[in-house]
Structure formats: structure tokens, C-alpha cells
Amino acid sequence: MGSPAPTGEGSPGASVATNTSPGLKAPTRRGTELVMLSFAAGLVTLALILVELNQERSLSMRILYLGVAYLALFACAHLAVRRWAPYADPAILPCVALLNGLGLVVIHRIDLALEGTVFLDGSTWDPVAFKQVIWTGIGLLMFAATLKFLPDHRMLARFGYTFGLVGLVALLLPGVLPGFIAPTINGAKIWLRIGPLSIQPGEFAKILLMVFFAAFLVSKRDLFTVAGRRFLGMDLPRARDLGPLFAAWGVTVAVMVLQKDLGSSLLFFGIVLVLLYVATERAAWVVLGLGLFSGGAIVAWKLFTHVQQRVANWQDPIARYDVVGGGYQISQSLFALATGGIGGAGLGAGRPEMIPEANTDFITAVIGEELGFVGFAALLLVYMVFALRGLRGAISVRDSFGKLLGGGLAFAVCFQVFIVVGGITKLIPMTGITAPFLSYGGSSLLANYILVALLLRISAAARAPQRAAKPKPQQPAIADQHTVMVERPK
């Protein structure tokens, strides 16, 4: 299992065909992608029209521009995939297009709801949907660039340590920089303000660190599989090999303490744990990691009031409804979801203006209210398909680095969804984190488009017909060789 399996166990259909009959060209499935993309575009257009109708607005030309811009962007993305990663998985881009499109529609819808709102400081609501379209454009540009300039994902492994260093700095930078350049927004210190731009370096750090960990673990994985002591029927790793795990744990705690960003630290720690597990194939790491996490969580809960608040809000949001930093947000989210019920209020007919942070952390609550449980479940399933298709690419790719990186990226998406959606539905304590591709925010969108490009690159590598190996020296057919007498068994 350790060595890359030449047959690509994951996708027997495609790979077997390529391997057994090199003369036949493997299907690229780009046509399938185009059909699914068109379907996604149709859904998004329908959603936009519904919003406009329910808000009693005439279908203006602006809608047309937004729609055309959206279609053009994803048509370009499709062409980019066609050109630079023709064998990429056909389901991933349509999932992303649907999520991103729905996100745009909902952000536009929230703009309409908040239009004319005057805030306490006298400022008025500034519509952001158009900005998000621009960010989508830039995101897809990065996506295309990643595909173009990274013809082989294994190139990344060479820069593992550089990425790790940059990632670590990016992750911790907002926490240590002074307030004027790294302001505290909504209690979290995760932003860098450069001129008119606010960026969240943590979103990019997530990917950089994943590349580092995957490269690091692949090069050193033999070390981690050396058994240490046996304890309770498990092979514990040797103490000195625990270094990376403790390092990750330390960084996680630092993020939690310095930036008060519980969501990101949870996400980051989960990813490291999964990468370790996949690299070593040993559950001991998971148990150990969960133990460390639980210990850290309990200590954090004891030490930090903002952690205690989150837990108390989670246990009984209504009881703490009127407390500052209390259960108001999560209560509003639950009210929205419950009022939406099974069928939802209808796109454009809900009350997103009552949900705090509606277009970022709580955007799924808006969708749950307006599209109901049906739409909410569909949304979760789209995320699942997206993540599982990404994982499928990781399983069928041939190199260890690709497997590790692909698995980590796919898990990261799914885990992030779990953290944010679990938070707004009161499954787990609420931790501020964005919903991939849905939430408003340039950094998150750009980072996630790079993530998708990497997943597509890995899946393309998995499905592409292998380049013809150097021709082996011609050997005469077996039939032409001399018969050799083998010693008869006694």
C-alpha cells in the first residue's frame, strides 16, 4: 500500500482502460463538465430571477450584466481546464460554480435586504455583491494561472519548506502585528489591512502549510512508521517523532490565543491530524491528537473567557440571548432555520437582515431560511460531492505527495463546512469561519480557488493516460524462447 500502485486502484474504469489499451484515448469528460456547468448556471440564473421577483424588482439590465459576467467567468474557467488540465475530474468545477453562483445570489439578496440600513456609527450599507463578482473573477484568474504554471503538482513538493515558512509567518502575522495594520474585527485578529485592502492571510496559510506538511511527511514518512512503545494495544510513535504534531498543536494554540480565532485553529489542527494519519496509516496519531486537542480545549476553556462564552452560548443560546457576546447570533440563526422549515420562505422572501454576519459566517443560515431544509440539505450534498470527488482524485493519483495533498485539501473543505454549518445549527459551538465559496470575502475566495485548482491538477494527474514509458529493450516473445526444464517437485 505504501508504494504508489501503478494500476490506480481508485478509478478502475478510467485507469484500467488507459493501462491495458494505450492505443485508445481516455475520455477527458470535458463535455460532461460543460453540461453540468450549464446546469449549475441555469440554477444560479433561476435563483437570481427568483430573488428579484420576490423583492418586487423589475428585472433590470444590471441582472443581465451580473448573469453574463458569471457565465463568462465560468466559461473561461472551463476553457482553462480544457486546455491545461484536460483530464481533470468533471464534477468538481460544476460544484464550485454552483456554490459560488449561489453565494453571489445570496450576497446580492442580502445587499437588497440591508439597502438603506443606517448603522449606529451613521454609515450606510455598502453593497458588496459586485465586489464579490470581481473577487470571483480574480479567483478564477488565479485558478487558471495555477493550472497553467503548475503542470505537475509534484513540483510543489520541492518548495515544501519555503511554503511552510511563508505559511507559518502568514498564519501568525495578524496575531503579532500591532492593531493599526492588523485590526481586531468581531473579536478576531485575523486581518491585515494594507491600504484599502483587507486580507486574511490565514486562508492562504492553510494551503501553504498543507503543501509543507504533505511534502514533509512524504519525505520522512518512514520515520513516523517506526514503532515506539506499545500501549493499550496501539503502537505509539517514538517520542522524538512527535515533534511535528506538537509543533502543529503549538501553532494552533498560538492562533487561538493571539487571534482568538477558534474556527481556524480547529480547522488547522484537524488537517494536520488527518495528514499524519494518512501518511502513517496509524490510528495512534489520531487518538494522540484528539487527546492533545481535548486537553488543549479544556485548558483553553478554563483560561479564556471567549472560549467559555462560546460554549455557554452553544449550551443554551436563549438563556444568554441578551448578554453581550451571548446567544443572540446563534439564536437568530436557529430562528431563521426553523422559520424556513422544510420548504423555506422562498429566495428573497426571508429576513436575512435579522441574521448577524449574514453574508459571511452565517450565510448558510440565510440559505436555510429561504430554501428550507430541502435547499440546505442539497447544499450540504453539493459540498459532499465536491469533497469526495477531490478525495477520489487523491486516491487514484499515483504519487504519495499527491495523495497526501489531495486528501488534505478535500478534507479541509469538508471539515471547514462541518465547523461553520455545525456552528450555525448548534451542533458544535459557534466558531467564526467562512463557508467555502459562499461567504463574502476576497481572501477566502482566492485561496479556495487555488485549492480547487490543486485538486483538479491532482485529479487530472490521476486520470490522464500515463506518458509512454521509455521503451524497454525488445525481448523476444515467450513463445520464441527456449524451453527450460524446471526441476520437478518431489
Binding site: M1, G2, A5, E9, G10, L53, E56, V274, Y277, V278, A279, E281, I318, Y321, S331, L334, F335, A336, L337, A338, T339, G340, G341, I342, R351, M354, G368, G372, F373, F376, A377, L380, L381, Y383, M384, A387, L388, L391, A394, I395, S400, K403, L404, G407, A410, F411, C414, F415, V417, F418, V421, G422, T425, K426, L427
Partner: protein, 490 residues
Amino acid sequence: MNTPLRRVGMAMMVMILLLLGNATWVQVINADEWRKNAYNRRVLLDEYARKRGLITVADGTVIADVKETTDRLRFLRTYNAGPAYAPVTGYLSVTYGTSGMERAENDLLNGSDDRLLARRISALITGRDPVGGNVQLTLNAKVQQTAYDQLTAKGFTGSVVAIKPDTGEVLAMASTPSYDPNLLASHDANEQASAWKQLTAKDANDPLVNRATQALYPAGSTLKVVVAAAALADGKNKDTQYTAKGSITLPGSQTPLPNFNGTPCGPGETVSMETALAKSCNTAFGEMAGQVGASKLRRQAEKFGFNDPDLTVPLAVETSTLGPIPDEASLYQTGIGQRDVQITPLENAVIAATIANNGKRMQPYLVSKILGPDLKSIEDTEPDEVETAMSTANANALRDMMIQSEINTGGEGRLQNVQVASKTGTAEHGSDVTKNNPHAWYIAFAPAQKPEIAIAVIVEDGGDRGLGATGGKVAAPIGRAVMNAYLAGR
């Protein structure tokens, strides 16, 4: 590496399944708990977002209007001439719910009534906001205003009800002290709260109670018309002789039953029923009730509308009762409207109207029409004859006696050129009749020969006359002014 990757895939699916399960709990199974939570203002906002129907009086003048605001609660309920109509319209308050017509016709006004179904569906198709239906009342603006002004001019606590005898339409329904429903309908929570506190204060004298339908009073001498009707039905006539003593002893007891001031009813031993009614002699009517008997008296009262717990106009109406009549003595006392007789001003007006309408009791009603949002009539209320309480001959005989009563009654404001039939009452109440000022009653209809309006007036606790108050001095002038307002304005 593929085995752990597959396990990671399983973990991802489990995460999504957990989210789906939790969403099912929040949005479907347990949704009502969150939807109906007091903090969830969505349901309320939905109701306020719909344009509520108007309430108008008979000539179409709007008394409960809606105004569009820029608040979160879109439509503000406004009441024109609030206090005069408040007992009928009631209030619509975010915090304190509804009362009066706002409650009785809430479904129609907020647009959820089934009678508006066809219009709701068409609104759904055309994409317009659903709008509530309108309620047109039977109230006559002039009569209502006169009734309210008459009661408030001297600061009386009491009530006036006017009914059109041949249909049962309620022409006026006033109750004082009243209140301004605009304060309770305010979108400013503080204004609402302070108004509520003031209106429900101990010394505020229950302004929120509509005394016409919700207050029960001893009927006093006004009940003598019911006793007389029972006696007429029993074969007696206006010339039947009864005792003229100034005071008699109740049978089976030592308790005296005196006339007003103990004055004998006439020079002789006996007086006719006509004289006894005109002079409101207690001794004669005690004897009359004793002769009729409890069961016949009760049946006659029920024919006039007593003991009807389901009566709605459509405001809910308290049940008027004669109370228990365990023995002869209590029958005598019941015969003069004391003991446990409890009656609403509305019921007393119904009695007057029934006599006026040749003994035929019409169902009293306040809503003349239900109009769709487009002001097209959806439903017209048809006058409903409930039952024949008296034969026409007996009703005419009783009317003639009441004409004599009016002639005998003092007080100001006698109608010129219009014959009035009436009966006064001065109802003692409380434990000590020498300290508790009596309630002043007046029931009447006019013109006597061709009645167009029947009224009942009560002024609590003697009005401005204290212990010396009588129905004739305190209540009759109000009743006459109200009738005059209607008859003069024809």
C-alpha cells in the same frame, strides 16, 4: 495510503450526515420550538409586513387605518378618533396582542381568513403582497360620537349602546373611561410599555374593558319591563291591579322591600301595572314577579337574550343572567332587578330593541360588511331574527306603559315632537347601599310608534349625583341626546 484516505472519506460522509441530521432536527422535527420562541420576531414581522385591512363605520369613514413606515415593522396601525371607538376597534399591539374587533376579525384583517383565499391565490400569482380584508361596522359616526361625548362631558364611567330595532345593527357602542389605542399600536416599545402601565394601573378604572359587552351590572328597575312582559304573557294586562304599599315584607322573611323613598305607589290599596311601571314601584313588581313565578320569569328573560354564553357581535359578550332564585323572597328581589341579576348594557339595549320591534328579537351585530382589499363586498351581514320574545299585542301594551314611564321620568333633554318609550333604573350595588352610589340606568326607544333607535345607558356609581342619583336624572339625558342625534340626522 489508500486505506486511510478511504477512512477519511468515510469520516467526511459522517460529518455531512451529522450536519444533515442536525438540520433535520432544527428545521423539521424541533422547528416549532424555535419558530414560536418569544425572541423570534419573524412571525410577527410577517404579519406587520402585510397591509392590514381597514375598519370603517357605516358611512365608510375610516376609524382604523394603516400607514406605511420605514420601521422594521412595515405597517403602523393608526386609529382616527381613537378613544371614542376604542371599545369597539380594540387595539393591535406588538407587545400586548389584540383586543376588540382587531382580535375578533383578526384573520380577516391580516388576510389569512379563508374568505380571502381566492384573492390570496391571485396575489400569489400576480406576485403582489397579500393584503388584509376590510371590516365595515354598523356604527353611526354621529351617534357614536354623541354617546362618547355625553359620557365624557361629565367624566362619567359607564356605557351607551344603541341598536336599530328592526335589524339589530349596533348604531353606537361607547364605554368610558376609554383610551387611545394609537399608544398601544406604537412601534416604539417604550411608548407602548408606558401606555400599558398607565392603562392597567389600579386607579385607572379599567379603561381597556369594553363595558358595553364585558361589564355585568345589576339591572335595577330596568328589569321591570321583563317582569311586565312575563306577566303580560301570563294573561295579565296593563290594568291588572297590584299592591300600592310603600313597603312590603318579603315572603318567608323579615326583610322589607320598600319603594323608592318608601313612598306608596298610589292613593288606594292597589295600582295598575301601567302605573306601577310608570312610577317604578318595587312592591308591585315584587308581587308581580311572585305571581309569575321563577320559571316563567326566567323563560321570558331568556327570550330577551339572557343566558346566551355564545353570543358574539362578533366581540365576545358576557352572559347576562337572572342568577339563582332559590326562594320566594329572592324571586321578589329578582323582580326589581336586584339580588343576583347581572346584565350587560348591550343586553339591556337588546331588551329595549325587542320591545320596540313588536317583540321580535333581532341578533345584535357590529359588522355590516366584509370587504376585500379591492373594496368589493365579500359578505354582507343579513339581519337575523332570533326569536319572538313577546306577541305584538303585548309588545304594544308594554310600549304604551313605557311611554307613560317616560312622561313620569324627570331629567333634562326631553325630545321635542318625538314620543319616547323608556324605563329608568337606579341599581343598588355593593355591600352597603347607604355608602355605594347606585348605578343609573336608562333604556328607551324612539319614536315610540315607529321605533328607529333603541338605547341602553348606564352611568356607574351615580355619575355626578352621588347617592342621590337616579336613572332619570343621570342616565336619561344621555340616552335622549343619543336618540336625538340619530333621529335629527335622518
